[in-house]
Amino acid sequence: MNDIAVSSWVEQAVAASTARECTVIVQESHEVNLRWAANALTTNGSMSQRTATVISTAELADGVSAASVTGPLATAEDLLELVRQADAAAPGAPADDEAQPLVSGQADEDFDHPAYRVGPEDFSGLALDLGTAFERAAAAGHLLFGFAEYRRTTTWLANSAGLRRRAVEPMGRLEVNAKAPDLINSAWVGAQSTDFTDVDVPAMHDELEKRLGWGSTRVDLPAGEYETILPPGAVVDLLVYAYWTMSARDAEQGQNVYAGAERGTTRIGEQLSTLPITIASDPEHQQFQQPPFVILPSSAPGLASVFDNGVPVGRVDWVKDGVLRNLVRTRAGFARSGGTGDLPFPSENLLVDAGGTADLDEMIAGTKRGLLLTCLWYIREVDPQTLLLTGLTRDGVYLIEEGRVTAAVNNFRFNESPIGLLRRATEAGRSEHTLCREWNDWFTCSLAPALRIPDFRMSTVSQAY
């Protein structure tokens, strides 16, 4: 894919629109990835993609409508064709209750810059490190499985009100699963990166070998309630679910866990945890930068609207000092609720901190008898009313006795609510840069502490390993 001047195509498109208003979003991504199993590569790829979305609006007798059309973008003519389609479709669409005036004003200085690119050369160093790791694993008698992915997505957003924004989102992740020859003793580690220069494969391998060492002794435990330490990645896997369901409208309509006791109210202002926990999102966070404005090729009902494209986004404290402070609204919904100031928009990062200072080893040292759950998996909602989730443990459940890990334990199925866990948590450790396990296809940027839960509920034993 050549470095064409996408910004000039965008300008032509906005100028060509005959609609009442028009927004154009172009996203170009470049990616490389490697995947391996049993100490050998299985697949690899180098992919490029460029898509465009045109959102046109029309004035109707009963309001304003919008049409969103997305398609592949190879030439300037492709984008003009999308403009024609969106312009033609908007008058035929019904009025949208989320209609708002377009955001105007800002023009980014780098709007004319081309897309950020990555290619096979970005993984040549990683490939060497992996080759060494495969040799080390073979010599030590264990197997490595995993995946590495590095992608950069460049977005241009422009509208007929003069807004011109550009953002580059880096996404990198590396996850490695080590298994002993019996395939029962298994451990997983993961890392998030924005450029792959800071990924330390040998150090990750050291951690895997430590955990396989923990698993050299095994004990079987029954289902029941256990004092449990959830490390940062597992905490994020549970809290991301709570984050994705924070619709204020659903709460006001009595349709989610954030619904207030009285019809039409929410739990904003309620103490969710006795720990001084803060759950925030912040597009300007140094390690996890996200676009500082809303980008929405299509609406997410009750959460975000295509009319909100380009709205500036800042830090939002969703929970502060254990108290629920904000829920997610569209711009129109925010205005209807009497909200003022910045729109509380959820960036794709999660910053969890309760002021703790203990690292994971210190929390283990402070445990008389309990479990360390390193990874949670296949987490699904069972009851939206309580946000009851079910899921399983995998790749490392460990028994802690008298302050140290003494054995690996069988896997479990659990049924728990992250809201219930926040309320029952008795200790939070030091907040750390982490990669969650299950949701890292979509969610790679997170900072979280380990949590101590005095009575984590295991429904059944899982025989899987």
Binding site: N2, V32, N33, L34, A37, A40, L41, T42, N44, G45, S46, Q49, T51, T53, A66, A67, S68, V69, P72, L73, A74, T75, A89, G92, A93, D96, P120, A127, L130, F134, F145, F147, E149, N177, K179, L183, Q253, Q255, S298, P301, G302, W377, Y378, I379, R380, V382, D383, P384, T386, T390, L392, R394, N411, R413, N415, E416, T460, V461, S462, Q463
Partner: protein, 498 residues
């Protein structure tokens, strides 16, 4: 019979193939294939009879995959020019070069007959993308308003997803295929908000490999289902909570398809059994050494894989490696007898030929072993649903799916549903709620003591089964009859303090 969209066949497919394949061959590739894929999607959502979301999108791209000196290489882009096709061939070989030190065994593919200049189109009547927008909206609005007219329904949501997928494939052997598939999924939800909380109930109509006609009376009666949903929701909202324990279950195909999907279809993917998915989706308890001996379930269990069932969501003429669609046995009389294969695994494990289970959800993704339609056969002399229920003294009748979870070896699972009826002395005795059934795969399928007759059979499925890294979605159907299971562990999902 629909024809392949001329705007797809008008693309320079042959020129792109010639450019990419000749370049790959000149660089020394032992295998090369090219795919050009266009996927159009239409999504509409109404909440309380007002439009909530509306988007029309399409993807179009091309990719080149090579085996070069025994190593895979893959590259994908969006510009449909011969120069880009050649550049992608170069880049795929470059990726193979980067990867070569990490490959332990040179890749080989099972042979497949040459299928030259083949075309195939799925079976549907009305292209949903050709229906006027006003008609689409009016139908969703009408059904939404019918739900909202009922006292028990405080909120209603209507969703429609339609997909049209065009694929062109060509490889160095001379195979070239051009295909078109259409699929559709309408879904409606009714919500009751009471003093004690809220209750929801969705339609149980499955997604189908059909066109717009599916929403207007062909193969499913939405009028009938929408008419009954409010009364079922009202009863559900007031229903007593289940007492946890062990129960006999009769499970309708609207629920059982998902249990088949998770515990059987994913469990018999050979790439999982061989460890290719170990770090992500997981492995399988049904390991390769147990082929031919593993007692997966009772003698009533006969499961096939196929890519040929009319209106099936995984139905194709040829897979994404140029392999012709087939039908094959997976479980026979309760014993594991087959796996889902692609060409590399078929060669590696000595099957001789792939059974056609390679699929990629776009040109930008590498074809993986993905499941075909995986279906449980009915008993030709089997009872109807009433007959299955008549054999139970104290049990639960399960309809529709809602929540699902299974471990990384496809063994320990937990499912809920849309609605549950208590069975007492062989008859239905009103709805109960807060039900989840939890079991292990072999225990559960071993407890199946009767499967229903052909009249209870339904082809259900999912439009978006996830697998692989980078993640890919795939459509898949599962046909099954109603079936009866003995002594299954049932949880009460409302128990506990959250």
């Amino acid at each position: 019979m629909p024809e392949i969209d001329p705007t797809f066949t008008a693309l320079p497919l042959r020129e792109l193939a010639d450019a990419a394949l000749s370049r790959a061959a000149s660089l020394g590739a032992s295998h090369a294939d090219i795919r050009v894929v266009r996927t159009q999607r239409l999504h509409r959502m109404l909440r309380d009879a007002r439009l909530e979301a509306s988007s029309d999108s399409s993807d179009l791209g091309l990719s080149v995959r090579v085996i070069h000196e025994g190593s895979w290489g893959f590259a994908a882009g969006v510009t449909l020019t011969t120069a880009e096709a050649q550049r992608l061939a170069d880049q795929a070989v470059a990726m193979a070069t980067v990867a070569r030190p990490l490959v332990s065994t040179p890749v080989e593919l099972a042979p497949e007959p040459v299928h030259a200049d083949q075309t195939w189109v799925s079976s549907y009547d009305i292209d949903p993308f050709e229906v006027p927008e006003a008609d689409r909206f009016a139908r969703l609005l009408d059904l939404s308003e019918r739900l909202l007219a009922a006292d028990a329904v405080h909120h209603a949501t209507a969703r429609l997803l339609a997909v049209k997928e065009n694929t062109f494939y060509a490889d160095l052997t001379g195979t070239s295929t051009t295909q078109q598939r259409v699929r559709i999924e309408p879904d409606f939800q009714a919500v009751n908000v009471g003093d004690g909380g809220f209750a929801t109930m969705n339609t149980v109509a499955p997604p189908a490999g059909r066109g717009w006609e599916y929403l207007t009376g062909t193969a499913w009666d939405f009028e009938e289902e929408i008419a009954h949903l409010p009364e079922l929701l009202a009863e559900h909202a007031k229903a007593p909570s289940i007492e946890a324990g062990r129960y006999d279950l009769v499970i309708e195909p609207t629920n059982l398809w998902l249990t088949i999907h998770e515990s059987v279809a994913h469990g018999t993917e050979l790439d999982r059994a061989l460890g290719y998915e170990a770090a992500y989706a997981g492995t399988s308890f049904a390991t390769f050494d147990q082929l031919g001996t593993l007692q997966y379930g009772s003698e009533h269990m006969n499961v096939t894989g196929d890519r040929v069932t009319e209106h099936g969501l995984a139905t194709v003429g040829f897979d994404d490696e140029g392999v012709a669609a087939q039908t094959f046995d997976i479980i026979k009389d309760g014993v594991l007898v087959g796996y889902q294969l692609n060409r590399q695994m078929a060669q590696e494990k000595g099957f001789g030929r792939s059974n056609g289970c390679a699929y990629a959800d776009s040109a930008g993704h590498i074809p993986l072993q993905r499941m075909p339609n995986v279906s449980l056969a009915p008993d030709p002399q089997g009872p109807d649903v009433a007959g299955l229920i008549a054999g139970i003294d104290d049990g639960i009748y399960v309809i529709g799916n809602k929540s699902w979870s299974i471990d990384m070896q496809r063994y320990n699972f937990q499912f809920t549903g849309q609605r549950f009826f208590r069975i007492k002395d062989g008859r239905l005795a009103g709805q109960v709620k807060d039900v989840a059934y939890q079991a292990t795969t072999t225990e559960f399928w071993g407890s199946m003591d009767a499967v229903g007759g052909p009249d209870t059979y339904l082809l259900a499925g999912s439009l978006n089964c996830g697998k692989g890294q980078p993640g890919q979605g795939a459509p898949v159907s599962h046909g099954c009859p109603a079936a009866r299971f003995r002594n299954v562990n049932v949880l009460n999902t409302a128990e506990g303090d959250n």
